[in-house]
């Protein structure tokens, strides 16, 4: 590879390089100046901001970098396209919020002397995610997935303050290890059948007439195991409640939003580049007959949301309840993919933006309350509406938005999913999703009921957030309400972001 090609290829992965550099700087800084750990978060934000700048710079640019030796044409390991840039930007924005999130977390502050490790691991996750969303080679996908997973295994048990931290870590590790192992085995089968691991090159080979479809299906189900585990869709969700409950809240929030988004980006890219022959003028994707993704995803998504919602009904720990709720949301998000159309993809992107706002908001407030009361049990939220008026109202709005009631952003997200479903004439599926929403209403409202309607036996101490914390909540709260009534910019942004390289 000559030098000019190398620099060109490197310029495609500037955001990844920035994140890697930031990771190294954080580690080195931690080693050299171990008395100035306070500066590390600022370094992190600065690194993310620079990466964000390069990502925005890459918008409306398409290209493919690092073509492997065996591939005759230009498709390489990494693609740069709007779809990938959208998710990279999403991950970076969420990460910046997570850094601020960590400021207020008592769990993280208690382990202040390991702050350098903490941020190094966070950056490991970020790097894994942004490679994952733009990788177009199964091996790079596997490596990125492992980088993401290995960092998050450690982070799930990072604080070691309670037994449950280690337990979360172990459970995450075992489920993650098995599913990524299965995924690798699936990749090896695909490699054996096609002789390549590049998604773009697999596509034409899968259209070969004498392909053994059973083997392809077997390999795809194995690969889906690895992805399904990342997006916590049933039946690979078993780790989710335990890990979400056991991990520090910051990490729970990060996993539930960013890691899930990366998993979805991977799934969408896999399906669209490997299994779609062309997109019809009205936006519907024409799938290769090799594997019926649509049937698999319909079953998985209905199963996921029903299971998530019904199990959430009898949770008493708010964190655990939100874990099940996040499983249910994965089900709604999968619905956007089920329709296999550009409308559905737009709906997913819109949903993710809103989901990030409301989910991070809800977790943040739960953390502030847990900082004071030391509990995440819903019963301990009784009477909180008057003890912490601002936090109470904000949490209520975030939960209402998670339910999907107007005039909040969550409603708009669901609306677009429903429109995509109805447009694809999947009205029965839409009605199942709707019944699920009614079920979800019950457990979200239950929290409101405890906060506002029930009388507390003992008077609660007032919980007063600091100005910075109020500001952080407002950053999440204002868009949640604003996008409920005016969401054109997000929709336009999402519509511009659905283009994948080559499609």
């Amino acid at each position: 590879m000559d030098a000019s090609l190398l620099t060109e290829n490197l310029s495609y992965i500037l955001p990844e390089i920035v994140i890697s550099a930031a990771l190294i700087i954080i580690v080195l800084f931690d080693l050299i100046f171990h008395n100035d750990k306070r500066i590390i978060p600022y370094l992190a934000v600065a690194g993310l901001a620079v990466a964000g700048f390069f990502i925005i710079d890459q918008f409306s640019f398409e290209g493919s970098a690092f073509a492997t030796s065996s591939s005759a044409n230009n498709f390489g390991m990494i693609t740069v396209d709007n779809f990938g840039s959208f998710f990279k930007l999403f991950v970076v924005c969420v990460s910046i919020l997570i850094v601020f999130f960590s400021f207020s977390s008592e769990e993280i502050q208690k382990t202040f002397d390991r702050l350098g490790e903490y941020y190094a691991l966070i950056f490991g996750m970020i790097l894994g995610m942004i490679i994952l969303v733009s990788a177009s080679d199964l091996i790079l996908i596997y490596l990125a997935l492992e980088l993401l997973s290995l960092s998050s295994y450690v982070l799930a048990g990072f604080t070691k303050l309670r037994d449950r931290n280690s337990e979360a870590s172990l459970k995450y590790l075992i489920f993650g290890g098995v599913s990524s192992g299965l995924m690798l085995f699936g990749i090896s089968i695909i490699y054996g059948m096609t002789g390549t691991t590049n998604l773009y090159l697999i596509n034409p080979l899968l259209q070969a007439p004498n392909l053994n479809l059973i083997t392809v299906s077997f390999a795809m189900i194995l690969i889906f195991t690895g992805i399904g585990y990342k997006i916590s869709s049933a039946p690979f969700h078993f780790w989710t409640p335990d890990v979400y409950e056991g991990a520090p809240i910051v990490i729970t929030a990060f996993l539930s939003v960013a890691s899930k988004a990366a998993g979805f980006a991977l799934l969408i890219r896999l399906i669209k580049t490997t299994f779609v022959t062309f997109t019809s003028p009205d936006g519907y994707w024409q799938l290769i007959n090799a594997f019926d993704w649509q049937a698999l995803l319909i079953i998985i998504s209905i199963f996921t949301m029903t299971l998530g919602n019904f199990t959430a009904l009898w949770q008493n720990n708010l964190k655990r309840m939100l874990a099940y709720s996040s499983i249910a949301h994965a089900g709604y998000l999968l619905l956007g993919l089920v329709v296999m159309s550009d409308q559905g993809l737009t709906a997913i992107l819109i949903y993710f933006v809103f989901y990030a706002l409301m989910n991070l908001g809800a977790f943040y407030i739960i953390m502030l309350i847990a900082n004071k009361t030391g509990s995440e049990e819903i019963d301990d939220y009784t009477g909180l509406g008057s003890a912490a008026p601002f936090l109470g109202v904000s949490l209520a709005i975030f939960l209402v938005s998670l339910t999907g009631l107007p005039p909040t952003a969550g409603f708009i997200g669901k609306l677009y999913i429903f429109i995509a479903l109805v447009d694809a004439k999947m009205i029965a599926v839409a009605i199942i999703a709707l019944l699920n929403t009614v079920v979800s209403l019950y457990y979200y409202v239950r929290v409101l009921k405890h906060m506002y309607l029930q009388k507390s036996d003992s008077p609660k101490d007032a919980i007063l957030p600091s100005t910075g914390q109020i500001l952080f909540i407002l950053i999440l709260l204002v868009p949640t309400l604003l996008f409920g009534v005016y969401f054109t910019p997000i929709v336009t942004f999402a519509k511009n972001s659905i283009s994948l390289l080559g499609f």
Binding site: S70, I139, L184, D242
Partner: protein, 103 residues
């Protein structure tokens, strides 16, 4: 004389994969589960190398196998650290008995 062909490798890898999956499902000891995971990874490795050799796909498969070996080592290191931590808190490493988080 029997020539060793692709089928032989695939049979070996299938057996390894099945053993690994069996170990993951049945073993209660976390270390044994991790060994099951290693078996699955190595089954995939055998596949990669065998396909690469017999399918004339170049050296990609063998390079991939190297990557996976490195990754498996990293995963084992982290996994054992976590298991050690579990052993310190719970005084055993049985997956079934570590269940403070429950519905």
């Amino acid at each position: 004389m029997i020539t060793v062909g692709l089928e032989h490798f695939l049979v070996i890898s299938s057996i390894l994969f099945s053993l690994g999956l069996y170990g993951v499902v049945t073993r209660k000891n976390a270390v044994m589960v991790l060994m099951g995971i290693e078996l699955i990874l190595n089954a995939a490795n055998i596949n990669f190398v065998a396909f690469s050799k017999y399918g004339n796909f170049g050296y990609d498969g063998q390079a991939i196998a190297l990557f996976v070996i490195v990754l498996a080592a990293a995963e084992a290191a982290i996994a054992l650290a976590i298991v050690l931590n579990i052993y310190k808190t719970f005084a055993n490493v049985n997956v079934d008995e570590i269940d403070k988080l429950k519905d």
